[in-house]
């Protein structure tokens, strides 16, 4: 539906910029609190043994997100 990719599509080692958050409510706030706002640069660092969650480098910190949540973060190059 969206013209943008979501964060979960990012391959290991790739970086992208956050375009918008599709998450709502408390998750939206939590994502913003860890620094995910429009324009934030994110790098995909490490995929866990189960394939989910995936660890991202966000503003100098390594944060693991589940697919359900990362798919709600729209990105652009």
């Amino acid at each position: 539906m969206s013209a943008y990719n979501s964060l979960n599509e990012l391959q290991k080692g790739q970086t992208a910029k956050v375009k918008a958050l599709a998450a709502t409510g408390s998750m939206r706030r939590r994502l913003q609190d860890i620094g995910l706002i429009e324009g934030t640069r994110v790098e995909c660092l490490q995929i866990s043994p189960g394939g989910d969650p995936i660890a991202y480098l966000i503003r100098g910190a390594v944060i693991a997100l589940r697919l359900e949540d990362s798919s709600n973060i729209l990105i652009c190059q």
Binding site: L21, A23, T24, S26, M27, R28, R29, R30, L31, Q32, D33, I34, G35, I37, E38, T40, L45, Q46, I47, S48, P49, G50, G51, D52, P53, A55, L57, I58, R59, G60, A61, V62, I63, A64, L65, R66, E68, D69
Partner: protein, 713 residues
């Protein structure tokens, strides 16, 4: 949070705001900060207390307080849980926010991680909006230096308009500057002019429109902050604010008028509630970004590359889980093979002491019953507890603490989250399970790091499937005696470590199964979202870890066990020596339980020991030994190696041993844990479920195991 006086037992669940000052002159200082930035280390080094520290987010989940003095002034320090934000998403964040906002601290110290300053500044800015009496403590400067990150703290202080000190909390002397800054701020009343976070102009107009209605609160709260919070409605915060200000804010005429006016301004600019929230948070994040650009510089581009390399192995697709299992086995192997010899030494020593005591009692002509009560009852159980428990604990705790210090535990959560997710639970439950290894009560309190109430309950109910240090030595002792033999060769010790790993894994599997069962039945609900920080690896302070874990964890836990063991020893001796009819009380009780216990592959004495061990699991095995010893056998069993013979004489087979181990892994939580669950869930129903569920499962497993095994004998 781990095992200290503060975190164990009932005290552990105290999250209240009751601050105890020694004198009314004392200044209350709150230590805030993101999770895992070394707040507890700062706290410990300043207060000389032993709040447990570890390299993982969410270790401190309730407020701890301690005292320190500097230049003859006294301070009460409050270590509050680490949070990314003061907009409370989980219980621990609420605890933190409520203390900064409504706990009336004289000053707030926000501890920051120098290696990740930008993210930390978000919280700093939020705190600055609430209070002027604030000091920023940029901690972990040594780590930053090692990574080639340079922070201009003077510049930072000028931009933020509040005092900034650079510290290295592991080195006490660097904290001197922090105390100097605190003294200047509090005693000399040097007034700070903190930075004002600018939001978009429309938002600013709305905030300014609110201010006139709030002027009456200007002495108790920051008006600008209050205005923003009123615009950005939050249910729980509103409740707290109403209570704190003694006024129902949203039904106040004047406030409501202004609120409508402000909302009108926002509506006119097409700013919905969600958009407003976005604008507020991005205002903070962008300000933090701007400040960092001016104050932080990086010498190395890939300053985190070694962490990434380690992560590739420890959390890799193929390596992550095998490495984890291997590490667990190695730790158990070191514990098992290392504990054997000291155990023997200690038991020899303690039982020689018993002979001396007996001689002493004989010499002073003490009556037999007194000797029996004190020496054969109390002293002997205590001696068993010490010799069985002390060595494994003194080895296991430091090893585990090293992993914790290194930053490995969040990686465990990362590795296992997929499985937890499949069971409808939260990956952070892995962290609370790790705490459960130390003490289930601490693990239950630790479940506060889980955001969703549903997943938190699952974590609380299943925590008991991880054997705590009270059950751990029991498992080790039985395993060594029945499946390995006490003469430890290389092969046997590895085998025993593998077996122990299997038992622990069984506990983990049960945790998953029960979590799944719960989330499919009584705890149905949608999966909540999940953010987990993987902190940078830090070099563990080996010397300190060993000293710390032996002195405050091991000795403390041992002390608690002994406090229960001594009266239990008395009781057992009395039960074994008071006769009712033809049999002793002990025989009556165990005889009564015996038929049922046999169904589960055990005997009446074992089940009785589990029941008597309700106050502390540590004493279960010693009680079993005591009960056998006192039921008429004249032989002296005083070495661990003799125990197998004693148990076999009392009808133990490998089936008994297996059933006892299984039941030890899966039965009711100890009394402290039950009380803690009651406090945490505030519900008798969930406490009862936490009690009954593992018990029923344990009984079922033992029944199946024992009766299947009997077919093969």
């Amino acid at each position: 949070m781990g095992l200290t006086n503060n975190s164990l037992g009932i005290k552990a669940v105290d999250s209240g705001l009751a601050i105890k000052k020694v004198s009314s002159e004392d200044k209350v200082v709150a230590l805030a900060g993101n999770p895992n930035v070394g707040k507890s280390t700062v706290f410990n080094n300043l207060t000389g207390m032993n709040q447990h520290t570890g390299n993982w987010p969410g270790k401190t989940v309730s407020n701890a307080q301690g005292y320190c003095s500097h230049n003859d002034k006294n301070y009460v320090l409050v270590d509050i849980p680490g949070t990314y934000s003061l907009m409370a998403h989980s219980v621990e964040e609420e605890v933190a926010r409520d203390f900064i906002c409504f706990g009336n601290p004289d000053a707030v110290v926000v501890v920051c991680d120098a290696t990740c300053l930008e993210r930390n500044l978000n919280l700093v800015l939020q705190a600055i909006e609430i209070t002027d009496n604030i000091i920023i403590c940029v901690n972990l400067m040594d780590e930053a230096k090692r990574k080639g990150i340079i922070i201009d703290t003077d510049r930072l202080s000028i931009i933020l308009g509040v005092p900034v000190v650079a510290t290295n909390a592991r080195k006490k002397n660097t904290l001197y500057k922090l105390m100097q800054a605190l003294e200047e701020l509090l005693i000399s009343q040097k007034k700070a002019t903190p930075i004002k976070i600018e939001y978009e102009s429309d938002v600013e107009t709305a905030i300014n429109a609110m201010l006139p209605a709030l002027v009456r609160f200007k002495d108790v709260i920051s008006l600008r902050w209050l205005a923003i919070r009123l615009l950005d409605y939050d249910e729980t915060l509103t409740k707290q604010l109403n209570e704190f200000l003694g006024c129902d804010l949203y039904s106040d005429e004047e406030i409501n008028t202004k609120l409508r006016e402000a909302k009108g301004i926002l509506d006119a600019c097409d700013i919905s509630a969600e958009k407003l929230q976005d604008k507020i948070t991005s205002g903070l994040v962008l300000t933090a970004e701007k400040i960092c650009k001016q104050t932080v510089s990086f010498k190395k581009r890939n300053y985190n590359s070694s962490d990434r390399r380690i992560d590739r192995i420890l959390t890799g697709k193929t390596t992550g889980i095998p490495v984890m299992a291997a590490m667990l086995t190695v730790i158990f192997w070191i514990t098992l093979s290392g504990a054997n010899y000291p155990s023997r030494l200690i038991s020899n020593g303690l039982f020689r002491m018993q002979d001396i005591l007996t001689e002493l009692f004989n010499n002073i002509g003490a009556p037999d019953w007194l000797h029996g009560l004190l020496v054969l009852g109390m002293y002997r159980v205590v001696a068993w507890v010490v010799s069985v428990m002390l060595p494994p604990m003194a080895i296991f705790f430091p090893l585990f603490t090293l992993l914790e210090d290194l930053g490995y535990l969040p990686r465990v959560a990362f590795n296992l989250d997929k499985f937890f997710k499949k069971c409808g639970a939260c990956g952070k439950q892995a962290l609370t399970m790790c705490m459960g290894f130390g003490c289930n009560a601490a693990g239950v309190v630790g479940c506060r790091i889980i955001d969703s109430p549903r997943e938190r309950l699952i974590g609380i109910i299943t925590n008991n499937f991880v054997p705590c240090n009270g059950r751990f030595p029991t498992l080790i002792a039985i395993l060594t005696m029945f499946f390995i033999g006490t003469s430890v060769g290389m092969f046997e010790s590895i085998l025993s470590a593998l077996l122990l790993t299997c038992i622990i894994l069984l506990g983990v599997v049960m945790t998953f199964a029960v979590s799944r069962l719960l989330s499919k039945t009584i705890l149905k609900g949608i999966q909540s979202s999940f953010t987990l920080e993987l902190p940078p690896y830090r070099r563990p302070q080996i010397g300190k870890v060993i000293v710390r874990s032996i002195f405050d964890r091991t000795l403390f836990v041992l002390g608690r066990a002994l406090a229960v063991a001594a009266p239990a020893g008395l009781l057992i001796w009395v039960m074994a020596n008071v006769t009712l009819g033809d049999y002793t009380l002990l025989a009556h009780c165990s005889g009564f339980l015996d038929p049922f216990a046999r169904l589960l592959g055990m005997d009446g004495v074992i089940l009785l020991a589990f029941i008597l061990g309700f106050p502390a699991n540590e004493i279960v095995f010693p009680i079993i030994i005591m009960a056998y010893l006192s039921s008429g056998s004249i032989m002296e069993y005083e070495r661990l190696s003799d125990l197998r013979e004693l148990l076999t004489l009392n009808g133990w087979s490998w089936i008994t041993a297996g059933s006892t181990m299984l039941f030890s892994l899966m039965h009711w939580p100890c009394s402290t844990t039950c009380l803690t669950i009651q406090k945490e869930t505030k519900s008798l129903k969930w406490t009862a479920i936490s009690f009954v569920l593992p018990t029923l499962i344990g009984m079922a497993v033992c029944f199946v195991f024992a009766n299947t095994a009997r077919l093969f004998v």
